[in-house]
Amino acid sequence: MIITNQKPFETILKELEDAKSVFLVGCGDCATLCETGGTDQVAEMAEKLKAEGKLITGMIVPDVGCHELDVKKEFRVHKDELEKADALLVMSCGAGCQAARSATDKPIMPSNDTLFLGNIMRYGQFEEKCRLCGDCLLDVTGAICPVARCHKGILNGPCGGTNEGKCEVDPEKDCAWTLIYQQLEKEGKLDKMREYRPPKNWNAVLKPGRHAIERKKGGEANE
């Protein structure tokens, strides 16, 4: 899921300094689990903004904030409340903000910083384990990703900054290459680590990414 963190309230107020009236948009998916854009946080934000003298024209929490068609639909349903707002505050990730962008011409302000694609470690704790590189090499690294989990994202073993299994940039973080070594050792497949990995194709997904599911002719696709 996409991990978000709410900006300081003063920053949000600064973003909204030109807006007397605000429409709030949350997200029923990732931002709800991150407690940055669920129903509770949207209601709380409405109260805080009211206390600062803002008029809240309405608020919605789409099931999936980055589903552009659904967000457009929701916006049509709430057309009048949207019309009255000087700006929208989107309490979702960067993708959610831009789903809202494609559904209205009103000014849109983000309440959150978008951090990473994260795994849920336990309630309210997230860790990045995939960097969305488009060229997965987990098959040769014991299903531990050095691109995401090594600070330098290097492919041929640990750097000189590894220390007792921890990383030089943060002793709280594991050295991915030590983890990979330990895993491949358990599997009896250390030869995979001994193989040279050539430079990576960093453009496996040409930025900005675009993907469409290929449908077989006469298959399940809706033609």
Binding site: K152, I154, P158, C159, G161, E164, Y181, R194, Y196, P199
Partner: protein, 305 residues
């Protein structure tokens, strides 16, 4: 291309002649005033076979390694160009190597590079398009007249390719795997991370001697007992044994540097006498001025080798 005049033998020539290779290190300054660095180069250029030039060492922005390499060449010294993968992608590195080659740089030490957050440009974007083994392989590709895009160049380059290894890495086995990868990727000689424990080093060399490479022991000058303790606590892969810390601590007030010099001179003599390595790489971080004294105390005069 005008003919490059080489004043000194290349380190490849030194090593292949069986001589004990002695190299020093030049850490470029932060800013355009290169007077002190120029003094250091002048001081070292005839005392050591060659000088490493660090590349934005510790992720701290400094005068460039390639510029310093050319300066050393102009001054009649022999440079070892350190190239890291932190600040340049493969295209920029290739272009820099073309430049270095045409200006007479013959030896390149390939490193991954420290991470950005440990340095003084903490908001900078880190590159790491490649790492050290891939960088070695990149040079090999250029030696075949191609770039890593698979394109033909209008000629080829040639470098003596080096890399580093950390004999005290913990855990050691992944480090040894990477060591072998670097050998396979074309590394012809190695410098080690700072070593202090000669017994550990001798054990490591038994493994290293299985490969057809040359290796210099990396030695960092101790200037105080505090520095030794700091390195043990903060520098990955560096372990100063307690007896050396005690020796530093027992130095008379104001004599710690003398003790550090004495220790390094002793280590150099031991490495040479016992044939533990093919040479030494002396890192006198910030104290380059004492390198001639270290060599004198170690009774190591390169002109007499």
């Amino acid at each position: 291309m005008s003919e490059i005049k080489h004043v000194k033998p290349s380190i490849q020539e030194v090593l292949e002649s069986g001589k004990f290779l002695v190299t020093g290190e030049i850490g470029p300054p932060k800013g355009p005033d290169i007077a002190e660095m120029t003094e250091h180069i002048e001081l070292l250029k005839d005392k050591v076979h060659a000088m490493n030039i660090t590349d934005n060492q510790s992720s701290v922005m400094r005068y460039p390694s390639i510029g310093t390499a050319l300066l050393i060449k102009e001054m009649g010294g022999e440079p070892i160009l350190q190239v890291t993968c932190r600040d340049r992608n493969r295209m920029a590195i290739e272009a820099d190597l073309l430049f270095a080659y045409t200006r007479g740089v013959r030896s390149v030490l390939c490193l991954t590079g420290d991470s950005i957050p440990v340095g003084d440009h903490k908001d900078a974007k880190s590159v790491f398009d490649l790492e050290s083994a891939q960088l070695l392989n990149l040079i090999r590709t250029m030696e075949d007249g191609k770039d890593t895009g698979g394109n033909e160049m209008n000629g080829s380059v040639s470098f003596f390719k080096g890399a580093i290894v950390t004999p005290e890495a913990d855990p050691l086995e992944p480090q040894l795997m990477k060591f072998k990868k670097k050998v396979d990727a074309g590394a012809q000689w190695f410098q080690t991370q700072a070593i202090y424990d000669m017994d550990h080093f001798a054990k490591f060399m038994k493994v290293a001697r299985e490969y057809d490479i040359k290796l210099q022991a990396g030695l960092v000058l101790l200037v105080s007992a505090g520095m030794a303790k700091y390195m043990n606590a903060n520098v990955p892969g560096v372990m100063v044994p307690q007896d050396l810390i005690d020796e530093m601590a027992s130095a008379e007030k104001g004599k710690a540097l003398d003790t550090g010099i004495k220790i390094m001179a002793r280590q150099i003599r031991q490495i040479r006498e016992e044939g533990l390595a093919d040479g030494v790489h002396i890192m006198a971080i910030g104290k380059e001025g004492v390198v001639p004294r270290i060599l004198e105390e170690a009774e190591l005069d390169i002109s007499a080798l």
